[in-house]
């Protein structure tokens, strides 16, 4: 029986502890142990960005992080983006802008866009495209996603 490791971490503002095997990725633990299935598994090798989470302030792909590395870290998943029952501007703009079809890539895009707009409230289109280059979408052709991020940036400035 493999040894299991006790990990204490903070996910979406809540202190959480869990047991995992060293070989389990953060993605596996989020989905299969903690039931946070908003974070999606696409390629499972860091290329597609569907499992993007914010890990101590930086976006990472959760498939390329071991769950044991979460010890003492602050993690935000897509479940932590909305405020209560109110969607975040990015989520609202994705809906209004039809920035999704099948939706598998969407949580990764929402989390990545949130991290971008947290550090730059008025990014250029180029910067948005470059920032989101590690997120793949096979449905939309990206334009609607980029426009929705731009719309969210504008809306977030109005709210300020």
């Amino acid at each position: 029986m493999p040894r299991r490791v006790h990990v204490q971490t903070t996910i979406n503002g809540e202190e959480i502890d869990f047991l995992c095997e060293a070989r389990q990725s953060l993605l596996e633990v989020l989905r299969d142990v903690l039931g946070l299935t908003g974070t999606k598994e696409g390629c499972n090798d860091g290329n597609c960005g569907a499992c993007t989470v914010i890990f101590d302030g930086r976006i990472v792909t959760a498939c390329l992080v071991l769950a044991v590395e979460a010890e003492g870290k602050q993690i935000t998943t897509v479940e932590g983006i909305a405020v209560g029952r109110e969607l975040h501007s990015i989520q609202q703009c994705f809906l209004e802008g039809a920035a999704l079809q099948c939706g598998i890539c969407t949580p990764g895009f929402i989390v990545a866009a949130k991290a971008l707009l947290d550090q730059d409230n008025n990014p250029s289109e180029d910067k948005i495209r470059l920032w989101l280059a590690n997120n793949l979408c096979r449905c939309t052709g990206y334009d609607k996603i980029v426009r929705s991020v731009q719309a969210a940036a504008e809306r977030m400035q109005e709210v300020r």
């Binding site: 860091g46 930086r58 792909t61 590690n134």
Partner: protein, 290 residues
């Protein structure tokens, strides 16, 4: 993923002890963007994964005029391109730290990991060779230093013996009127592997090259240091002709293979174009240093 145990040593000594105790059964984890893919895919086996990110010497960026720049082997790319000293003094390093993978990869991947992984296409290695970087390696018998161009020995292989750990990378303080640049060709702008790449540095003096260094990515089993291309520039006037000659030497030195990313002929052509263009940018940067 295959079964393994995990350890998170807090000191270099402890990491070296673990690595020598477990030998070939241990592997080092920094950003994990290569090693976790390899472990999951079964391309590599390990019974122990040694996470080195909490060791202070592997996690620091330090600059001073006398000893130059030290980058811990596990420092992720984003901390390099957000560092004020690196931005000011080593724009060539900013080039590579901000083009490896995408934003998520840059949140984890390190220059040390890129070097240890020893891929022929490693983007960080040619510029480190151009900048005359050296590797500080710790082992059970103490420390040794290896030049970056001597570190990789074959695809996926490096000089580290069992029980040895790459601690940090050292870059000499930039000389007056020096500049560096890395250029890579890939079919899209990000998240791809170099078809070819060129990392160069130059030192100028009154319209002449004092010295230069050129290294290439993806055109040999390891990153290729083309000493003769840099040497051909030393003492020559800064001109399109001298730069063209160095680029032609780089093209001649390249020993690429045909694969899905490009043919031998195409890659050799790229070496000429990328070396030429990278040298022009490095010259511009050196002039702005004045």
């Amino acid at each position: 993923m295959q079964w393994f145990e995990y350890a998170r040593p807090g000191t270099v000594d402890e990491a070296v002890r673990l690595l020598s105790e477990h030998g070939e059964k241990a592997c080092v984890l920094a950003g994990g963007t290569d090693i976790l893919v390899q472990l999951r895919g079964g391309f590599r086996a390990a019974e122990w994964v040694i996470d080195v990110k909490e060791i202070p010497a592997l996690d620091e960026i330090a600059w001073d005029e006398a000893s130059g720049l030290t980058i811990g082997a596990a420092v992720p790319c984003y901390r390099i391109y957000e560092d004020e000293d690196v931005k000011k003094l080593y724009p060539g390093l900013i080039d590579v730290a901000s083009l490896i993978g995408g934003t998520q990869i840059q949140g984890r991947a390190s220059l040390g990991g890129n070097l240890c992984n020893a891929a022929p296409s490693a983007d960080a290695v040619p510029i480190m060779i151009a900048l005359e970087a050296s590797c500080r390696i710790a082992g059970t018998n103490g420390e040794r230093t290896v030049a970056v161009e001597d570190f990789c020995t074959a695809p996926g292989k490096n000089v580290l013996a069992a029980g040895e750990l790459l601690v940090s990378l050292h870059f000499p303080a930039p000389k007056a009127n020096s500049g560096a640049h890395y250029l890579r060709f890939i079919p899209r702008n990000e998240m791809d592997i170099a078809v070819a790449g060129a990392g160069v540095s130059v030192v100028l003096d009154n319209g002449n090259f004092t010295s230069a260094r050129v290294a290439l990515a993806s055109v040999a089993p390891t990153s290729l240091f083309v000493k003769q291309a840099g040497d051909a520039l030393a003492g020559q006037p800064v001109s399109d002709e001298s730069i063209q000659r160095a680029a032609d030497i780089a093209k001649q030195a390249a020993k690429p293979i045909d694969d899905m990313r490009g043919t031998v002929r195409y890659r050799k052509h790229l070496c000429e174009v990328l070396t030429r263009r990278a040298l022009h940018v490095a010259v511009e940067r050196a002039r702005r240093n004045n």
